[in-house]
């Protein structure tokens, strides 16, 4: 497409007479309804042949005005809404919000509640990574992992359902602790799950890690350097795969994370393959944390003393946690009333998606799919 073979070169034509065949660039629209964009994401690609020269993301199709809604709800009433942002990691969303409001109220959840929080959040991290792996592999052409990961993720959702009655938008935590005591046999279920899923993760790895097609499709694809990650504010497994050993659970521990022994897996090349390895290792580390938490779960109350009508003193707070996708932050402004004056959600998917353009430049169209997958975005969180 680059050179015209007709007698008149495209360079001789004036702009108005040029057709798309005469141009070196092709603009291709992808989405918003596209199976590989993981939701309603529209990407406008600028192509030279099959090579990506640049792209623009068009987002906002799922915008529901979560931050506006927050200003018209009480602190307690807004709690279930946060589950609907990153709906595959609803527990993490709830944890971040509850902890932010607790900080603003200057209260702390009791130790037992913190342990329950850690167990559920880490289970959710495994579930989120499993869903990521299944869909990401499917996008690249490996269909089997999807069936494996969804089969195993079901076990986590069953635990959630038994604990709080919901599978996805769990609303598991309350401001000040947890609403529900663990059900009878909870610890047994969790331990059973750990011994069930550990060999399954090996199974996923067996399918992919040395699979030639997988390696060819992911190695040196969508590479991003540590420097660029930091400049673009990219966090989570993407940052770690580029070699930055940074995890909020370690850097600024929250809940009960300082009590557990776990590693922060990192990669070196910052490509799609390294991000895959980092997430696989993270799942194993999560299991380690869950095991320690279940073994050491203390007895005691699960709710701090919180008044029914919450009126945090006038002030502002920023609190962030390590969600499966990266840094999830809440900036809350209180004016002393029962409703937050402003709630700002700092969504990891939104910020990470911004690096898509940088990561796709010079790559092939097919790799755009791989890069969108490897960023692990959830459009519900991007658009809020």
């Amino acid at each position: 497409m680059t050179d015209s073979t007709s007698s008149v070169s495209h360079l001789d034509l004036d702009e108005s007479k040029k057709t798309f065949l005469d141009a070196n660039e092709l603009i291709l629209n992808m989405g918003p309804q596209h199976p590989a964009t993981h939701g309603v994401l529209r990407v406008i690609l600028r192509l030279d042949g099959e090579k990506v020269l640049g792209l623009e993301c068009v987002i906002g199709y799922l915008h529901r005005g979560v931050e506006k809604i927050a200003e018209h709800r009480t602190y307690t009433m807004f709690n279930p809404y946060v589950d609907r942002m990153d709906y595959v990691a609803a527990v993490s969303n709830g944890l971040g919000y509850c902890e932010a409001v607790e900080k603003l109220l200057n209260i702390e959840a009791p130790p037992r509640a913190n342990y329950i929080r850690v167990i559920l959040t880490e289970l959710n991290r495994v579930a989120s990574h499993q869903l990521w792996l299944g869909t990401h592999a499917l996008d690249i052409g490996a269909m089997t992992p999807l069936f494996y990961t969804f089969r195993d993720r079901e076990e986590i959702l069953k635990i959630f359902e038994k604990y709080c009655g919901a599978r996805l938008t769990t609303h598991a935590f309350r401001i000040g602790g947890c609403q529900y005591e663990t059900y009878e046999g909870f610890e047994k279920d969790v331990k059973k799950f750990i011994s069930f899923v550990a060999p399954k993760i090996d199974e996923y790895e067996e399918l992919l890690t040395t699979n030639r097609i997988w390696v060819e499709r992911t190695k040196n694809v969508g590479t991003i350097s540590a420097k660029d990650c930091i400049a673009y504010g990219v966090t989570g497994p993407v940052l770690r795969a580029s070699g930055v050993k940074w995890d909020i659970r370690k850097a600024q521990p929250y809940a009960a994370y300082s009590k557990f022994d776990f590693e922060v897996p990192t990669g070196q090349n910052g490509d799609t393959y390294d991000r895959y390895l980092v997430r696989m290792a993270e799942m194993r580390q999560s299991l380690r944390i869950i095991q320690q938490a279940v073994d050491g779960i203390p007895e005691g109350p699960i709710m701090a003393k919180v008044s029914k009508v919450m009126k945090p003193p006038v002030g502002e707070i920023y609190h962030s946690i390590e969600a499966p996708k990266g840094e999830l932050g809440y900036f809350i402004v209180s004016d002393g009333s029962t409703q937050p004056y402003r709630v700002r959600v700092r969504p990891p998917s939104f910020v990470n998606l911004q690096a898509l353009d940088l990561m796709c430049r010079g790559q092939l169209v097919a790799d755009v799919i791989a890069v969108i997958g490897t960023l692990d975005i959830v459009l519900g969180e991007v658009d809020r």
Partner: protein
């Protein structure tokens, strides 16, 4: 509560009364004069290692003379420390963009523009990000109602009477 540190002493020495350093619930923030943006942001990144811009956002106080708080949440990997920089601007007043300091500010500033109508000068492409381009109004302003919408846009583009 007043926040005291070597960083604050340095900034105060340089900018004098334009900087106020405070701390609340163990979190430090700088209340700075609008004219010090972007210099102070540049210094925080270049000299104080605040290399990661976590968030850029705004808060609307319609009763105040200078209606908007614009704030930057920063983090330093080397110091493992967070700081918030806050400034006040009036309706229609401009604020320099931080895209040349942290590329990540690009989408974050677009969102602040979309939701609050804050004009970031020097932004490469300041346009709406979550709402459609032709939308009227900035929803996170306090005078924008919760069920309010751009009726005209909805009727023309969606072909329905109301999105509610």
């Amino acid at each position: 509560m007043v926040w005291e540190s070597a960083l604050v002493a340095k900034l105060k020495g340089q900018f004098g009364s334009g900087v106020e350093a405070l701390t609340y619930l163990g979190q430090n923030y700088l209340q700075v004069d609008r004219s010090l943006i972007p210099n102070i942001l540049q210094i925080l990144r270049d000299e104080e290692q605040f290399d990661y811009c976590v968030d850029v956002t705004a808060v609307h106080y319609p009763k105040r003379e200078r209606q908007f708080d614009v704030l930057w949440i920063l983090y330093s990997f080397a110091r493992n420390e967070r700081v918030r920089v806050k400034t006040q601007i009036a309706e229609g007043e401009h604020i320099p963009s931080a895209v040349s300091i942290w590329p990540t500010a690009n989408w974050l500033e677009r969102e602040a523009y979309d939701m609050f109508g804050i004009q970031f000068v020097g932004h490469p492409e300041l346009k709406r990000i979550l709402l459609p381009d032709g939308w009227k109004g900035h929803p996170l302003r306090k005078d924008y109602g919760i069920i309010q919408q751009d009726q005209e846009w909805v009727q023309i583009n969606l072909g329905i009477e109301s999105g509610q």
